[in-house]
Symmetry: C2
Subunit: 378 residues, 2 copies
């Protein structure tokens, strides 16, 4: 499509409408869409005919049907709405949300993603590292962020972050500086520059990568949206790196999301005398994050997150039914004790990225569990 022929179809209008009404993810809305189709659900919500659970969640904004206007305005600004209907939908990256135990209604995959920029969404997030950290980064923290983000971007990795002050901005800037790709996930509409001081940075990100949000244009940032945003930084990355973080830190929230989604979490150490490294040290001590000091070590941990062969997706369902990588990885797990993906890759003869893809599927089947950063038979 181009600016002259912009004409969203009924389904896209329905996704846009529901995204605006829901203002964030909802498992019950996803389930309804899965069952009845996005157009039917949108019509029902619009008409006040949705079930009680959905109505209580959505009725407050059900009258706000700004879908056509939002899509048109964003289109003119160089953005679009990406939905599960689109080829570029990062389905594999978001699959993990469906596997979560004890998830609240909002701890779900986004219904759709509003993006600013011309790149396809699925491509940059195929090999992507989330780099996050404190807004109050030290000179050391900014330096290390720039080194690692720049090296990763040079190596073809997309740098995903949240466009905040401190570590986030240093990560985006370093990727841009080497002509790399970077994705900024916002807690507000992609048309809102937040923080305002980063308006120019966000424009540069949109030109060399993508600015992404699950909130429709015009949405203002809010605390709960930052927490929801963090889960998307984690989901759209093969692994999450925390460069500097205080003892209590939003970056740790992102790291927790990465762990829940089965992605590697890494942290950079610093002087024990520095407050901005306390959160990183704590995560390393508690085995919540692996210590890394360079882009090379980050890549060692991560490998790109690729979708498994289709046949694997079809046959997992029982131990006998395992095949392909999944079977090889399962067979390579020792009877007792935990092993890491790298060790499994060696013993299974399967590339480490494919091992990383197989493990969450085995976990979904209840065949393996993650423990202390490694994996063991359930």
């Amino acid at each position: 499509m181009n600016a002259d022929s912009f004409d969203p179809d009924e389904r896209r209008l329905a996704w846009a409408y529901l995204s605006t009404v829901a203002q964030g993810a909802s498992r019950s809305l996803s389930a309804a869409i899965e069952e009845e189709g996005v157009v039917a659900v949108a019509a029902a919500v619009r008409a006040g005919r949705a079930g009680a659970e959905l109505s209580s969640r959505l009725s407050a904004r059900a009258h706000l049907d700004t879908a056509a206007v939002d899509l048109e305005r964003l289109h003119r600004a160089g953005g679009r709405l990406v939905t599960p209907d689109d080829d570029e939908w990062p389905a594999w990256q978001l699959l993990g949300f469906g596997m979560l135990d004890k998830a609240t209604d909002a701890e779900a995959a986004p219904h759709a993603l509003w993006v600013w920029g011309t790149r396809r969404l699925d491509e940059p997030v195929e090999r992507a590292i989330g780099i996050v950290g404190t807004r109050a980064a030290s000179g050391y923290g900014e330096h290390v962020t720039a080194e690692i983000a720049g090296d990763l971007a040079l190596d073809g990795w997309t740098v995903v972050s949240g466009a905040a002050f401190g570590v986030d901005a240093a990560a985006h800037r370093a990727a841009l500086a080497v002509g790399g790709t970077t994705v900024a996930v916002l807690a507000c509409g992609v048309d809102r520059a937040y923080p305002a001081a980063h308006a120019k940075l966000l424009r540069a990100v949109s030109e060399n990568g993508l600015v992404v949000s699950e909130y429709p244009p015009g949405t203002a940032p809010a605390r709960y949206r930052f927490l929801a945003r963090n889960r998307l930084v984690a989901a759209l990355s093969s692994g999450t790196l925390v460069v500097e973080a205080g003892w209590r830190s939003g970056a740790r929230n992102t790291a927790t999301w990465a762990r829940r989604l089965g992605r590697p979490v890494m942290a950079v150490p610093g002087p024990v005398t520095s407050a901005s490294s306390q959160g990183c040290h704590r995560m390393i001590r508690e085995n919540e994050a692996r210590l890394v000091g360079s882009a090379h070590e980050v890549v060692d941990e991560c490998g790109p997150l690729l979708a498994p062969d289709d046949r694997d997706a079809q046959v997992v369902g029982s131990l006998d039914g395992l095949s392909g990588d999944t079977a090889l990885v399962y067979e390579a797990l020792p009877a007792v004790g935990t092993v890491g993906p790298a060790e499994l890759a060696t013993s299974a003869g399967v590339a480490v990225d494919r091992v990383r893809a197989a493990l969450p599927m085995l976990e979904l089947e209840g065949l393996v569990v993650s423990r202390d950063g490694g994996w063991e038979r359930a």
Copy 2:
């Protein structure tokens, strides 16, 4: 004994003679002493009547019977030879050498220890932390060493180190500065100030703690003696802390010894841009050391290494025969997976120091194995 009535008995003369002839530990010599007694073995070696294996190891120095002179000279200087005959012999600390798999002849407990200072040897090493690191410590490294060593010493822990430049010296000095106890283990005779610049420091250590060596007075330092010395730093400590270490580092050798002996190994992180922290980061990454940043975290890892109840030492030998702490600790181990001593302490209701004492005994019995810094049922 005092200077006026110094008169070493036949056994002490035999230990001194064999220590001088062996110049380091020997499993075969220990076995011969165990079987025939120290006086008989000394007489046999002196007369060239020792078995072939011992003779090949000892004949080169068998004629050097300087025992009486060495003991007398060291006695006048304020030192003595501590042997397994003495109450103050740190038998429990050295027990681990007997449990090592695949140990070479020299990877054994020392036959005897030459000490300079008036303190009993067993007391300061009951609650002791080894603090080691690079000679080329950074300002940051020296600062952190001083903070942690000073806090530990104030808390009643003995600081054990090797009197080298850099981290070692900073550790000894910090302990002395707060009126604490410190033990220096040398790779040369305790009468040789090495490095020479530390002559004053070693004297201060001897006055407030002990200077210790397994080599007789007059022995010069040598590379293999530094490696042998490292094993004693590890053995005489409840845990070993590496503050700063380069990528290849003697401190890592000490840490390896601590791990072989079943003691906690800790490392302090620093800037990833600092060469003197690379070894620490590597050990943390490879799960060879736990990240710590304060004396409090060190004590959390260690707890004092105390001998188990005698009844425990007598009854371990079969699973049914376990009793006391040992049985409680074994029963607290989960059927699958590894746990750390602190967690075991909680679930077994046994103090963490006693858990740490019980685990090596259970390992000796083949009932538990250590893996990834934790313990699991064999």
